[in-house]
Every structure is written in C-alpha cells, then in structure tokens.
Subunit: 313 residues, 3 copies
C-alpha cells in the first residue's frame, strides 16, 4: 500500500478526496480504492475498486497486506519484578523492565524495554505499554490500553500552598485511572489526583505531548490532539474533540460532543455540542466573524480615523 504519488505498479493506493485528484492523474499505482463520487476521475491506474468509504476499506485491507509481527510472550532475564506482584498468562516483559511491589498484571500484557511500573499498579488484559514508559504507584490501567513510549501516568499534580515563605507541596494521594480501550501518545503526561482521582474514560484517544492535570475527568470516546493542555479539575464530557495545542483553564466543563479548534484558549464552560475557537475561546462563528472584522477594519483605518477625528472635534 502506498500514497498516490509514491505508488508503483505493485502497490495499492486510494483516492478519498477531490483535492488529491491531480495526483490520481499521474499515479503509477497498480490498483486504487476509490469513493463512488470519484470513480470516474481521469487517471491511468489499472484497477479501480469502488468502495463507499476508502478509509474504512483501507482499515480492513491493511492487516491483510501487513501481517503484524507475532507477539512473543515471556519475561526477559533482565526484568525486575517486586514482591507480591502477580502476573497473568502470556505476558511479555521486555529487557530492563522494572515492576514494583504488589502490582497486578492481566493476561497478555506487554511491557516494552525500559518501562517502569510503580507499586500497587494494576494493568488489565491485553494492554501494551511501549518503551520507556513510567507509571507512578497506585495507577489503574484498564484493558486493551495502548501507552506510547515515554508517557508518564500518575505523576504528582502541580499544587502548592504558599506558607512560611515557600510554596508548600500539597500531597497527591488520588489515583490516575485509565479506562479500557484508551490510547495515550508518546511523551504525554497525566497527573494523578490530589484527593480525587484523575480519570480518562473508555475509548478516548490522546495524542503525543498532551498534559492532563490533577483531578481532570475526561469522558468516553473523546479525541485529544497533540500538545493540548488541560488544567486541574476540568471535566471533558463524552465525545468531545480537542484539536492540537488547545489550552483549558482549571475547573471548567466542556460539554458532550463539543469541539475546540486548534490553539483555542478556553477560560469558561463550553456548552454541549458547540464548536468554539480562538483566544479567549468563543463560539466558532463569532470568533471567525471577529477575525474577519479585524482584518477589514485594519485596511480601513485611515478613513476610520478621519471620521473619529472629526467626531472628536
């Protein structure tokens, strides 16, 4: 499988959006998955396979074309496992993995090389933590969870009280709870709760370099894109989508199915189902209108200042 511009005659490619039609003209791919609307697009590809949704079709074809490497279970001789820890069937523990005391690992859990799991952590069946991940003590990780390299699960939150001339650390005794079917990107950090728990709901997907503060609750099936930052105690309800580099202040609620545009700076609650963007974030249409107004006014400043001057006089 290869993209339009790189496919050769032994490759399968796909065309799912009109913007790529020019590349379809010249592709040398042997075959292409094409959506019905684009089925007659000019191009010399030898075989067109017309499918309702090329991306979904690709999802089915890929595992056939690229057979995943067979998972090898076993515990590497250099893995270190603490007292009281119990390990399910067919786990795969890589080189230099370190597991603390009283940990419970489910069946078929995979921990790649260099991953460190703290005391009293639980990890459910079929979860996979990639290389160099750290899990702080007492975190809970569900089933079929993927945690990419370098992610930090359950670190202390950023909480201090200023007293006697210093920032005194608030002890963090809450947990970090990751539900089933969550995926967490590389080098993402999710803090544990201070007193309450930090909770990521089932089926939610989190990209790379995201920061999630203490006591945050994210519902089910959300998408949180790269470099988003969520301050403490903010709640994100089911199905919300946060685009890249969005920042949210603490103690807010983002309603069910709401969407936040890239780089939005959110300082208030966002109602369910709405799309907000900009800084400070507002309903997307208002934000766009304000931006457009600004650029129009900026081009008319001379006339505008003349008007204002006369009014002032």
């Amino acid at each position: 499988m290869a993209p339009l511009d790189r496919a050769g005659d032994a490759d399968l490619t796909f065309l799912a959006a009109p913007r790529y039609a020019p590349l379809f003209l010249t592709t040398r791919a042997g075959a292409a998955l094409v959506s019905p609307e684009l089925a007659d697009q000019p191009g010399q590809v030898r075989a067109r396979i017309v499918v309702a949704k090329p991306h979904e079709a690709m999802l089915r074809v890929l595992p056939e074309l690229y057979v995943a490497p067979t998972r090898v279970s076993g515990v590497h001789a250099t893995a270190v496992i603490g007292r009281g820890t119990t390990v399910g069937r067919d786990v795969s523990l890589g080189a230099h993995v370190v597991i603390g005391r009283d940990v419970v690992l489910g069946d078929r859990v995979t921990l790649d090389a260099g991953t460190v799991v703290g005391d009293e952590v639980r990890i459910g069946d079929d979860s996979h933590l990639y290389a160099n991940v750290s899990v702080y003590p007492r975190a809970r990780i569900g089933r079929r969870v993927l945690v990419h390299a370098g992610a930090r699960i359950g670190s202390d939150g950023f909480g201090y009280v200023f007293r006697d001339g210093a920032h005194q650390k608030i002890p963090h005794v809450g947990r970090c709870v990751i539900s089933d079917d969550v995926e967490i990107g590389a080098n993402t950090t999710i803090d544990r709760g201070s007193i309450d728990d930090t909770v990521i709901g089932p089926g939610t997907k989190i990209d790379n370099l995201v920061h999630i503060g203490h006591n945050v609750r994210i519902g089910a099936l959300c998408l949180v894109m790269a470099q988003v930052g969520i301050a403490g105690s903010t709640h994100i309800e089911d199905g919300a989508i946060l685009a890249g580099q969005v920042g949210l202040a603490g103690h807010l609620t983002v309603g069910k199915g709401a969407r936040l545009g890239a780089q939005a700076g959110v300082f208030g609650d966002v109602p369910a189902g709405e799309t907000w963007s900009g800084y400070p974030a507002r309903p997307h249409k208002e934000a766009l209108r304000a931006q457009a107004a600004l650029f129009r006014l900026s081009g008319l400043m001379k006339t505008l200042e003349r008007l204002i001057d006369r009014e002032k006089r």
Copy 2:
C-alpha cells in the same frame, strides 16, 4: 479524604469556595473542613470543622491520614555506578539506574528505576529523581529537589551558526544549575547554558512539559505552569507566575512578581509586579479591553461599513 461529591461517611471532605456549596448540600461525607464564611452553609454533613484556611488545614491533615510509604535505602543489584563517583549515606538507587563517572550524590538521594545521571553531576541531600529521568554531564542539582519522571536536565541548547551551507552547532559548555527546593514536572526539558549557565532559583516550581532554553535564569519562588516555553537568555525574576502554555521570546526580562496569563505570547520585557496577557502580550487590562472592543465592533460592522463608505465617497 475525598471530594464533596465522592465522600462517604468514613471520609473527611472540605469546602473552601462558595461555588462548591451546591455539592455541600448533598455530600454524604462524615466530616468537613469548612472556612468561616461557609460555616453555616446548608448541608447534612455530620461534623463541621471550621478552619481559617481549609487548604492549609488539608495540608496538615493529609500526611496523618495517608502515611507515606517508608523509604527503603539501598543500591539495587542492577544499578551501574561509574568510577570516581561518591555516594552519601542512605541513598536509594533503583533498578537499572545508571550513574556516570565522578558524580557526587548527597545523603538520602533517591534515584528511581531507569534514571540516568551523566558524568560529573552533583545532586544534593534529600533530592529525589523519579523514574526514567536523564541528567546530562556536569549539571548541578541542589538539596530537596524533586524531578519527575522523564524530565531532561542539561540537554544542549538550540544554537547554530549558518556557515558553509549548513547549520553549524554551537558547542554547549555551560551548566544547568537547579537550586534547592525546586520541583520539576514530568517530561520537562531544561537546556544547559551555551557559555553561561542556565539557572533555576531556589523554591521555584515547574510543571510538566515545560521547555526552558539555554542561558535562561529563573529566580526564587516562581511558578511555571504546564507547557510554558522560555527561549534562550530570558530572565524571570523572583516570584513571577507563568500560566500554562505561555511562550517567551529570547533575551527578555520578566520582572519580580510579574504574572503572565495562560497562552500569553511575550515579545518584550514585562515590568515587575504587572499582569500581562494575550498575543502579543500587553498589560492584562489593555488586552481584555481590546478583546472586548473587537467583539463589540464585530457585531456593528454593517453600520460601521456604511459610515466608512459614505466618508470615502
């Protein structure tokens, strides 16, 4: 201890702000720390403990309720320690820790599993580096410093000179100096100095995923929140507070006690004691007024354009 909405009758909870009064009505907590202003708030909690500052009270109660796990000193059999390194009393070195040559570790230093410390580093008494931290050669870390999982201390700064058709790397020979009582969040990166040192002042607290460039100097008792980025040679004076995702250009000065609002983009010096926000950052009140003006104008564009059209004619 548990938050209002999750506490049961065996739990202690707290009420510190009026916005949580509705939860107080229905909490099933056995007891609550309550501030004097909220002492008479309706609710059926069995015992109210009225305290001037519930958050501070919590700080004192928490260590009694949650006894910290006893620190076990010792050097794990898999730890690797370089020649010429000296180690204080009662250190705790976890599994697969790697320490370079000529390192000096103070008393009661804790290095968690997978942490790597470069040659000639010094780490003071009672400091704790969590799992998978990297410290580059020659860094200095003070006493009672906490460094969370995956933080990188003393990496090369981003400095090049374009010559002979390539970006030639400027060697980084300065140090990264972390003073006493600093806390550094998970996956934060602090570059070493190019010629000068990078310095973090005593008692300053830094959150997760923060980037601090070469030659930056941060004073005492600052708070630097998640995902802040500070470009090279910028100085932050004592007691400044930088909210999440703030970005600062290089070679600036942020004065004593200044505050920067979340996501501010700072391209000039910020005077001591002032609060700035927005992009480009301005005094907070000006920034707010400009935002308000923009949204008001955006709603009045039709009338405004009519006025301008007539003036033009």
Copy 3:
C-alpha cells in the same frame, strides 16, 4: 569563556550586539571578541580581538578551550542486543541499552544508557542517541544524527476511523526516516507514517518538545523551534524556519524559506519566502497592522460608539 557580566580576568568574552554595550563597560573579562562596529566601545577589557563575526569566531575557539571528553567505544555488559543485529566498528553502547532484532548500526554509533531501539531499525555512521531515547521498529536514522534524551522516533500517528461505536485505530505501516546531519531535541516526538513515510530532510534542526505528526515531510536545513506542533501530512519545504510554539494544521504546504513567527496558528498554505504570524496566521505585516489597529480602536471606542449610535438612529 564566559558572558560579559560573569567573566573574570582569566576569561575570554564576546560583544556582538550594541544592546550588550552597557555590560561591556563594566566587564572584568581578560579578553573579548568584538565585531568591527563595536571595536571602539568604551570598556576596560584588557585585550580586544576584532573579528568580522564574533559568534563564528566563538564557534572556532570553543573546541580549543573545552576539549570534548574522549569518546570511549565498547559495549556495556548490561546492553541487550537482539538476534540478527549487526554492529559497525567502534560503536559505544551504554548501560541497559536495548536493541531489537535485525537492526543495523553503522560505525562509531553511540547509544547512551537506557536507550531502546526497535526491530529492523537502521542507524548510520557517527550518529549519537543520548539517554532514554526510544526508536520504534523499522525507523531509518542517517549519519551524524544527534537525538537528545527522551526523544521518540517513529511512534504511531493519531489516526482513527469511527465505526461500530468506537474509534478504530488505523494501522501505521509507514516508516520514520531521519536524514543525515539532523539534530532532534529532548522529549521531541516524531510519528511514523500511516502508509507513506514521515521524512525529516538533511541538516534540519529540531528543538525540544516538538510534535511531528504522521506523513509529515520536512525538507533540508529547516529550523523547528521548541514546542512546535505539525499535524499529519503537512509539508515544510527546504530552509523554512518555524519559531517556538507554532502550530500547523494537517495537509498544508509551507514553501521554501518561509518563516513563521512564534505561536503562529497556521491553517492554510504559506508561500515560499514569506513571513507569516498570528492566529490565524497571515503575512506578518498584515498581522502586525491588524494588531496595531485593534489597540488603536480599543482606545477610541467611546467616540466610535457615539458615531455608530448616531448612524443607527
């Protein structure tokens, strides 16, 4: 070598910009590299060495003053190397390094402690991966590449198709290809391609905590500063410069030599050679003019609203 304000009489310093002239007045440095324009700047430094470009001169002097530690080759006893892996001459593999199967390492490759390299990866001659780096299977890393601590190379991209009530993961079968002479900052993440490859061009330098999504292509000799985020399938052409915290949406093209100002939010193509900034990003002059207009208008709102009120009546 030391900066103006810290140099003593045994130190060499430099003066390259007029803004540092006040420090030159009082510096106690023994000698200074000075640009011709600043050669007569008042100050009591004992020896002035006038050079066309002090920064370039520094680049030549530094390696003489600070002799780099001799590189010691060898494979640490605790390194784990998979079957079928071949290793070049004079490699240096640190403690607890883990290398998968069928990897090819060139001559003089250095892998610092705790670094994990997946199956079928290739790393070219003279490349250096610092501590705790992870490289996912099948990535290609060229010659003379520097990868700083905690960087993640080749992690899965963020791609899902919503089907049957869940976000189904799109398998990532493309590679992550890092060309010769690239430098990658600490804790930066670069995803592998979904079907196509993610490619970083020769001589490009990437700072800390940068996110580069799947299928992104970056050309030669670009500079990508700290905390930049580049969404999937965006192309950055040769010589482009992306300042700190810039965010780019997916499927865009940033032309040859274009520059993006710090924190820019880019939602459309950027033409070659242009400088854009702001949110949403526009040509830098337009963005500046709009900002200036906004602050002028914000100060004139009273008069403006009077005008508008009268017009409405």
